[in-house]
């Protein structure tokens, strides 16, 4: 009993120091009054939380949930074939896996900037299409929701592929074979056997994509051109130009609670819980 207590102490301390204290600071900040030029002041108040009910901010929350949801669906659509392909590529498996991880060797910021060079008027896509004679005027690819989604899907796709790969790898190959033997078409096997069995991986991947997309601020800022606001941008703005730290803290806590709720919803699936 005593040994257990002492051996778990470092973990508890780390948890308290790295999670508990910062969280407590954010909660405290969210209940204080804004300082005129940044920072927080007395008195304590619930105003910052009350402001969250403003339709203006609720619309931003809804928008963020919507964009994060679409990004997750797109990641699923793109990630499933990739994971399936890697599992079935035999001895090349590790090479493909390394390639999926390769972008992580460069900074998130640089990868997002790279998309600006791909999507802008004089960028890769428009230059290629123009020189092929397919278009005469550059397509408006940058600074819209499409660009934001492209950036989000690109950056978070590996987080979907990896847990899904882990599930598919453990999948008993005899089951799809049996389905085929019993006369199921490949499409039907996929739909009725492979996808249901890989559900834990799909759920785990969705959580890992949805939660960070919900709080994304760099991608909407750089690729959305500041024309739209997601929750992350709202928070950032409160700590910079608006100099309203208490409201910024309240919004961050709200995001955190929203993420925790969606996590809890996903985790009701037992096997996904094991995978995470």
């Amino acid at each position: 009993m005593k040994l257990r207590f002492w051996s778990l102490l470092p973990a508890r301390l780390t948890g308290a120091l790295l999670l508990g204290i910062p969280l407590a600071v954010i909660i405290a900040y969210s209940l204080l009054t804004r300082g005129d030029y940044g920072g927080v002041e007395q008195p304590w108040t619930l105003d910052n939380w009350a402001r969250l009910a403003d339709p203006l901010y609720l619309a931003i929350v809804w928008r963020s949930v919507w964009i994060a949801g679409v990004a997750t669906l797109l990641c699923a659509a793109a990630g499933f074939p990739v994971a399936l392909f890697i599992v079935r590529s035999g001895r090349w498996r590790n090479v493909w896996l390394q390639l999926v991880l390769l972008p992580f060797w460069t900074s998130f910021l640089i990868r997002t900037y790279a998309w600006i060079f791909i999507l802008r008027d004089t960028g890769l896509v428009n230059t290629a299409l123009t020189s092929l004679g397919l278009i005469h005027k550059p397509l408006p690819l940058l600074y819209n929701d499409g660009a934001v989604l492209a950036g989000l899907v690109y950056n978070y796709l590996p987080f979907f592929v990896l847990p899904l790969y882990a599930t598919l790898e453990k999948l008993d190959t005899a089951l799809p074979e049996a389905a085929a033997d019993l006369g199921a078409t490949p499409w039907r096997t996929l739909r009725r056997v492979t996808i249901p069995l890989s559900l834990p991986g799909i759920i785990a991947g969705s959580v890992l994509v949805f939660v960070p997309c919900l709080g994304a601020y760099l991608t909407p800022d750089l690729l959305g051109g500041g024309k739209t606001v997601m929750i992350g941008n709202l928070v950032q703005n409160q700590f910079t130009s608006a100099r309203d730290w208490p409201f910024g803290s309240a919004v961050s806590m709200a995001v955190l609670m929203l993420s925790a709720l969606s996590l809890a919803a996903f985790l009701r699936h037992r096997t996904a819980r094991e995978l995470l």
């Binding site: 804004r34 300082g35 005129d36 030029y37 940044g38 920072g39 203006l56 901010y57 619309a59 931003i60 928008r63 600006i116 802008r120 008027d121 004089t122 408006p140 940058l142 600074y143 750089l222 959305g224 051109g225 500041g226 024309k227 739209t228 606001v229 941008n233 709202l234 703005n237 409160q238 700590f239 910079t240 130009s241 608006a242 100099r243 309203d244």
Partner: protein, 343 residues
């Protein structure tokens, strides 16, 4: 339990180790250290080295990207920085909050070398708190090969430039420009005027490609963007990459910003900090810094003939130095900004 002799041996060894450690640290750098926190790319690095060798001191140099970033650090009053470079409008609030040390003019004979416009600036008429360093203004950068007739802010509402224009991603500037276009004051705190400005900004949004700050420079150079609300400094840098770019100082008036060198009250190196400020005021140092940063110096010496950086007298007369917004107006404007962004 240790015996006495062992105990003494141990403790003397410990003393030796401690003393040894301390002497290595001291030998590594005995020079006094000045901590300077400045905007990024806002000084000639050779000048930092020169100050270090001439005075036998060491400079710890850090950079920031916005006033808010700097303020967030120094608000605590024990940030570890000695000299910072706030924009003129932040000096008043910083002084009120007791963050700045009063300057000792006896130690700053170089102040006489300041351009006459910065000898008694509106924001700090006796230069109590800071030494004007570099300045620039906001106007319209445009591609003269493809666009003509850009003289006013209203050009940024032109239908023929739809989708090829940007505004700065900054609430004070965007609302301020809309106010100027409507013939109202840039720093208005009147809610009716601000509502009108918001409507104007939302109307303008459909014509805009994006709200971009320094990022727009490359897209102006490449020709993606044809007209942009931009700082004179950034435009001067872009012109180096594309000679067809021009800068209009708008007819409705335009904001000017001056970044000033100030000493923090928390600083324990009051004399050395003054020496550094005096060093920045030296004509050749000011000229080198302005040249490297591609911006306008507040010194008489080192000014160039570039009309993008130094608007001629009658143009300069249309400029103004926006004061700090009162907190209530700031809060109101931020809500409007969120509405504009969500529209």
């Amino acid at each position: 339990m240790l015996r006495d002799s062992q105990n003494r041996a141990l403790s003397s060894r410990r003393t030796f180790l401690v003393a040894g450690g301390a002497s290595t640290v001291a030998c590594a750098d005995r020079r006094p250290r000045l901590n300077v926190f400045n905007w990024s790319a806002y000084i000639d690095p050779a000048m930092i080295e020169r100050f270090e060798t001439e005075r036998g001191v060491r400079i710890r140099y850090g950079t920031y990207e916005s006033n808010e970033e700097m303020l967030a650090r120094v608000m605590s009053g024990n940030s570890g920085w000695d000299v910072v470079f706030p924009t003129h409008s932040r000096l008043g609030p910083m002084a009120t909050h007791g963050l700045l040390a009063r300057l000792d003019h006896g130690r700053l004979p170089g102040l006489a070398g300041l351009d006459s416009r910065f000898q008694q600036p509106v924001w700090d008429s006796e230069l109590h708190w800071a030494v004007p360093y570099m300045w620039n203004g906001t106007g319209v950068a445009y591609n003269s090969k493809l666009v003509a007739g850009v003289e006013a802010w209203s050009a940024l509402w032109r239908d023929d430039l739809r989708g090829r224009m940007t505004m700065l991603d900054d609430p004070e500037d965007v609302l301020g420009v809309c106010l100027l276009k409507l013939g109202m004051p840039f720093s208005s705190v009147d809610e009716r005027q601000l509502q009108a400005a918001k409507a104007e900004a939302i109307r303008q949004k459909q014509y805009l490609r994006a709200y971009l700050n320094a990022d727009v420079r490359d897209q102006l150079v490449s020709g993606d963007v044809l007209a942009a609300e931009l700082w004179s400094t950034t435009t001067a840098q872009a012109i180096a990459g594309n000679a067809a770019l021009r800068f209009a100082w708008p007819t409705e008036g335009f904001p000017l910003y001056c970044d000033c060198a100030a000493i923090l009250r928390e600083s324990t190196r009051y004399e050395l900090a003054h020496e550094f400020l005096e060093f920045l005021l030296q004509p050749d140092v000011a000229a080198a810094n302005a040249r490297v940063a591609v911006t306008a110096t507040a010194n008489r010496a080192g000014q160039s003939a570039d009309p993008v950086l130094y608007p001629p007298g009658e143009v300069y007369a249309r400029g103004f130095w926006p004061p700090a917004l009162p907190p209530a107006a700031q809060r109101y404007r931020d809500r409007l900004w969120t509405e504009i962004k969500s529209a």
